[in-house]
């Protein structure tokens, strides 16, 4: 469905010259490598989380996939078509929903934008009505579509944005930070909606988000990029197994103990009586547990995998060093 091979993108940006004259007639450009030889394929009905720190190349990737940006080199094919050609047959099957930008007509109620899209995407009126009905029910916002967009809150606007972007029932959806700036309740609503929409419509989704929770809950597969390079492409659970070198050991103590005694086991990362947490190298787990049972009196002990956020953070840091070197 989506095929990307050796994709690179170099941005050229003007550098401020010494004076007006050199700016006008002899403008210098700086080149920034935003994507560096990226390859992946995505099949039908998949939800993929695209993650990376700011400036990693996530949005650039989505912009190339949706045909907005022209890649510097490499191949990008979606549904057998080249996105940048912007064939109507291609555009009718995709949607690019951005948390930071909206397509809604600011001064008019959202239903006007929906109607406009109905005509633009040639949607039969019966299908249109059914879709709007369906989506407004899923998002519980039937009364909002007739209010001028400028009077809606950010969360309400995002709901309208989702409907406007999905009215043509796209096969492929790019979500760029769909929950940005929203409170935790709205985030939850959007997440549930995306999940439901995907199962009902068998859509293929690529999602970027700074909220790991979005990605954790929605995407089975992760693409991790940093500085334009692909660091990881695979199952979400595998990344923890593969890259996590440590585990968390949480001990619930029976009575207060001096920190010096706690340190006999290892240096704890937090200690709020009665809980003390250690971060232990995977290879040392059994030894540490033995030590704990010798030195400490406790009522409970749990061993957990490192959270995925931590794994990815350390992945960025270690790979960063490699890239810089």
């Amino acid at each position: 469905m989506i095929k990307v091979k050796n994709l690179s993108k170099i941005y050229k940006s003007p550098v401020k010259g010494k004076n007006f004259y050199s700016d006008l007639f002899n403008r210098q450009y700086k080149e920034t490598l935003a994507l560096d030889n990226i390859s992946f394929t995505i099949g039908e009905n998949e939800i993929v989380g695209l993650i990376g720190p700011n400036g990693a190349g996530k949005t650039t990737t989505l912009k190339i996939l949706s045909g907005i940006l022209y890649p510097t080199s490499g191949v990008c094919q979606i549904l057998g078509m080249v996105p940048f050609e912007k064939k109507h047959g291609f555009l009718k099957q995709i949607s690019f929903i951005m948390g930071q930008r909206n397509q809604l007509i600011w001064d008019l109620p959202a239903i006007e934008t929906f109607h406009l899209n109905q005509h633009i995407y040639d949607i039969p009126i019966a299908d249109f009505k059914q879709t709007v009905d369906n989506l407004t029910k899923l998002l519980d916002c039937q009364d909002l579509i007739v209010k001028p967009v400028k009077t809606l809150s950010l969360g309400e606007r995002m709901k309208m944005e989702l409907i406007a972007g999905l009215i043509h029932r796209p096969k492929i959806i790019f979500f760029d930070e769909p929950t940005i700036g929203l409170d935790i309740f709205s985030q939850e609503v959007i997440r549930d909606f995306v999940k439901k929409y995907q199962t009902e419509n068998n859509a293929t989704i690529i999602l970027t988000s700074h909220y790991m929770e979005d990605v954790k809950r929605l995407a089975k597969r992760l693409l991790v990029i940093n500085k334009g390079k692909m660091l990881y492409d695979g199952d979400q659970n595998e990344i923890v197994k593969k890259y996590s070198l440590e585990k968390y050991v949480t001990v619930t103590l029976e009575r207060k103990i001096d920190e010096k005694i706690l340190a006999l086991v290892a240096k704890p990362i937090t200690y709020h009586f009665p809980r003390v947490v250690y971060k232990i190298d995977k290879s040392n787990i059994s030894q540490t547990v033995k030590l704990i049972s010798e030195k400490l009196k406790f009522s409970d002990l749990t061993i957990e995998e490192e959270p995925i956020e931590e794994v990815i953070k350390s992945l960025f840091q270690s790979k960063n060093k490699n890239i810089d070197n």
């Binding site: 940006s13 907005i68 022209y70 690019f96 406009l116 109905q118």
Partner: protein, 271 residues
């Protein structure tokens, strides 16, 4: 076609949200016709004939020209350069629509509203100042040339907006264009009253084909199908029509070229 009609309708609705802005806009338009009308009226009081024009012809040129101008120059392309700079243009790029047609539909909304009100305003002005007009001539020749002027103006305005792909400072460039336009398109006086060498020079630029030529055709008494040279300041009408088409194609291809280069090279940085 239906989709572009929908764009037109929604643009109409957007217009009437801000009523004060709308009223002020109409006020400005009325001033724009009254000032040259007063000015030339004063001149015509002393010299009853200017160039080949008597009072009725001169006033007719200004009034008809203004009506043409409201349609030709009404534009929403200003929005495009700011849409490029703040990234809003992405919304249009992602839709299965032709960018040129989409914006033309928006433009038509602007032009139609402009024309609708201008007809009333000019009627009132003509009635109030008891102006005498000649009935419009040559409608069959006028229509295609008028259509050309609408399109030439649209394509040039698009090209100017597309400069937003390379610079954030489109406004000064546009300003120079507008100043040029108001002098050499013939908004304030018929171009053939100025000295021949300057007139001829102006006639090779695209400007007169957006305003002067259609207005001139409308007030010209002569049958344009006859090979005449007198009515168009020494140039045959055939030559002027040819130029009008040359500028139509030139402006279209220029706009296309700049558009293609623009969307290919633009970075949409962080937007």
């Amino acid at each position: 076609m239906k989709k572009y009609l929908a764009v037109l309708t929604v643009s109409f609705k957007e217009y009437f949200v801000y009523r004060i802005n709308f009223i002020l806009w109409r006020f400005r338009v009325v001033l724009n016709i009254i000032i040259p009308l007063f000015l030339w009226s004063a001149v015509l009081d002393r010299n009853p004939v200017i160039g080949d024009y008597d009072r009725t012809q001169f006033v007719s040129y200004l009034i008809y020209g203004n009506l043409i101008g409201t349609f030709v120059f009404g534009t929403r392309t200003f929005d495009i350069s700011s849409d490029i700079n703040d990234g809003k243009i992405i919304n249009t790029l992602l839709k299965p629509v032709s960018f040129f047609n989409y914006h033309f539909a928006k433009e038509m909304a602007d032009k139609l509203i402009n024309l609708f009100f201008a007809v009333f305003e000019l009627y009132l002005i003509v009635w109030f100042f008891k102006l005498q007009l000649i009935p419009p001539n040559n409608p069959i020749l006028f229509l295609p040339i008028f259509l050309n002027s609408v399109l030439i103006s649209y394509f040039i305005n698009l090209t100017l907006s597309f400069l937003g792909f390379w610079t954030t400072e489109v406004w000064p460039i546009r300003f120079v264009f507008m100043v040029l336009l108001s002098f050499v398109a013939g908004n304030y006086f018929p171009l053939d009253i100025i000295p021949q060498p300057i007139y001829k020079l102006i006639m090779v630029t695209p400007f007169p084909y957006m305003f002067y030529l259609p207005a001139k055709i409308l007030i010209s008494h002569e049958n344009p199908l006859l090979p005449t040279t007198s009515g168009y300041a020494g140039q045959s009408i055939g030559q002027l029509i040819l130029f009008s088409y040359i500028w139509l194609f030139a402006s279209y291809f220029l706009a296309r070229l700049v558009w293609r280069k623009g969307i290919k090279s633009f970075s949409f940085w962080g937007r």
